[in-house]
Amino acid sequence: MAPLPLGHPEMDASLDTIRHQIVQLLPRLRRFAVALTGSMADGDDLVQDTVERALKNLHAWEPGSRLDSWMFRIAKNRFIDTRRSWKRGKTVAIEAVEEPAWDGEGAMQAHLAFQDTAKALQTLPVEQRQAVALVLVDGLSYREAADILEIPIGTLTSRISRAREALMATLEG
């Protein structure tokens, strides 16, 4: 079968669907990225990088397989590849959150809790932080998280356990 010509309506419709699905994933990707980088601004840079990578390599995604897992995997890899540049999160956590969620009753408290948690995550080794970002933050199953991180499920389980102990110590201490 010959390739469809560029701009073919059917192809454009499918591409629109994929782009729409990615827009739907943005909040989850942002949350994952902020958990990894510790900063909203760095997190958003990571998400932008991830989105651009994903679309430029869209042929590597198999239609029918999970788009979210695939994009989380790209984000994870990009974070590892470029993490020397994610420095801001170490000094200033969540400096630029402008969303209405911070307004009103208890906003300051919520903001502080947010900063505490984001900072506590930064104290974890990267491997544990990735596991936590997928399981505790995003709520994926151990199996899904292990697949994304490309590690055995037993490794994932022990990383989660160690991270839970460490986070508890940090946040209680």
Binding site: M11, E62, V97, E99, A101
Partner: protein, 230 residues
Amino acid sequence: MDREILNKFVDGQLPPQEMARIAALLETQPDMKDYVAKQEKLSASLRFEAVMQAPPPSRLVEAVHKTPVSWRWRLFAGRRGFGLPWLLPAGTALLVGLVLGITMRPAGDLALSHGEMLARGALAQALDTRLASAGYDGEGPRIGISFRDRDGSACRTFASGHQAGLACHRSGDWVVTTLVTQASESGGAYRMAGSQMPETVRRAVEVSIQGQAFDAETEARARANGWTGK
């Protein structure tokens, strides 16, 4: 009790019966109950609800809409027969339209079983035992590259006579997922070294490979493990 088990309980990762057993146990063990309560609170504090509810910044939405997709996606999208792959589970699309021709030659090297084409005889033996890294001695089927596909199966390209293809190791058998028969002008076998792999086989590899092709060490290890596992 093992903390790992309790953590799995908090994360809802135990089988239903085990979840129920631990839930009942907690009622008699205040220490454990306290631990679980604290871990549950920790999970709740990590949801970043504010980020989930905030509209994403326009630069991200713009990146989604404006970043051009790869030309290779457009190529494959057309070749896969548009619309169809969306209805099929992962991996099935691969099997559609890639099996171009089947001739059972040499006899005994291929068998059909439950709708799948399986490697037998010299082909199966070559897939099981030969290492591409060891070089080709000019006899029998030649093995090309080996890799793991998206389902985690070990897969290997091969060439034998006028045929070339891709076989993946599933449930102890080599399932031939792609087979191309083509008479070469010289009458010789395909040379499977890299770029000379038939286009159809190369495509099949491209759409199914997970990560990189095996290097010599990974190939040897995979053979030692009987082509199973990770």
